[in-house]
Amino acid sequence: MKELSLNILDIIENSLKAKAKNIELTIIEDDSKDLLLIEVKDDGVGMDETLLKEVFDPFMTTSKNKKVGLGLPLLKLEAESCDGGVFIESKKGLGMIVKVCFKKSHIDVPPLGDLPATIVSIIATHPEVNLKFKHVVNNKTFEISTEDLRKTCEESLCTPFLLSSIKTFLEEKIKELHGGV
């Protein structure tokens, strides 16, 4: 994957396949701790211990269509090559938490990339899911949830016109977090 936001989309797609209804995405960038942390929490079907042990095995997949599952193994490789790692907590029936951390100043850390595009893709294809997004850059925080957006818009978010407005809105907000105007 070229950028981390694509990996995030991939993790969230996993959550959606696990029938998650509420998904929380948290991104923390902290220069003083030299840390970039991405956390995805969902309330899907979760995984039992045997599956959890095998989850980083590239030849392990729950899909019937194919024989390999490369999403998590690739992300793990990426994180570990940047002095970070991937940690997964899950219990059968209770959802899961995926934490990915990177050493922020490491030269091999991929760019976060187009986060608004990732979020809009999820809203567009799964308008029924509640997605909470929290982005912390040092001491600045931006939070938004699709529930809030839905209340504001009172109707389906899934119209191309509103989606593109939401995308511009997120782009502005994330730019502000990084100090740009």
Binding site: L6, E13, K66, D114, V120, A124, E155, P160, F161, L162
Partner: protein
């Protein structure tokens, strides 16, 4: 478009959106399937999806439902886009954002299948 500063601005946009939308009646006419598994995402399906949304907005076409499908086992053809119109599902392979725009214009809206890019029908 004006820059949006707050959720309040979105509320205003909603009013605009209402005027903009044709009222959707009954079932949607067209379904667009997009495969967003690991392979699809790595091959660029997110950009394809955004191009489709953008083109739909430009052409003011809202009788459409976009459905995400996991990998269909056609990884070599990713990004794969399927269009379900008039009872036939047509799959296009190796779809680039620009191709996606053309698919929206000719197949989704006007019902003309672009046969050069078709990989499967069902």
């Amino acid at each position: 478009m004006d820059k949006i500063k707050s959720i309040e601005d979105l509320r205003k946009l909603r009013e605009q959106a209402k005027a903009f939308l044709r009222t959707r009646q009954g079932e949607v006419k067209v379904k667009i399937y997009i495969s967003m598994g690991t392979v699809g995402i790595a091959a660029g399906s997110r950009d394809v999806l955004l191009a489709i949304l953008d083109e739909l907005q430009k052409r003011n076409f809202t009788d459409v439902q976009i459905i995400e499908r996991g990998s269909m086992g056609l990884d070599v053809e990713e990004p794969v886009v399927g269009v379900d119109r008039d009872g036939v599902v047509v799959y296009y392979g190796h779809v680039a954002p620009e191709m996606a725009r053309q698919i929206v214009a000719s197949h989704v809206i006007n019902g003309q299948i672009i046969s050069d890019w078709v990989i499967a029908k069902e």
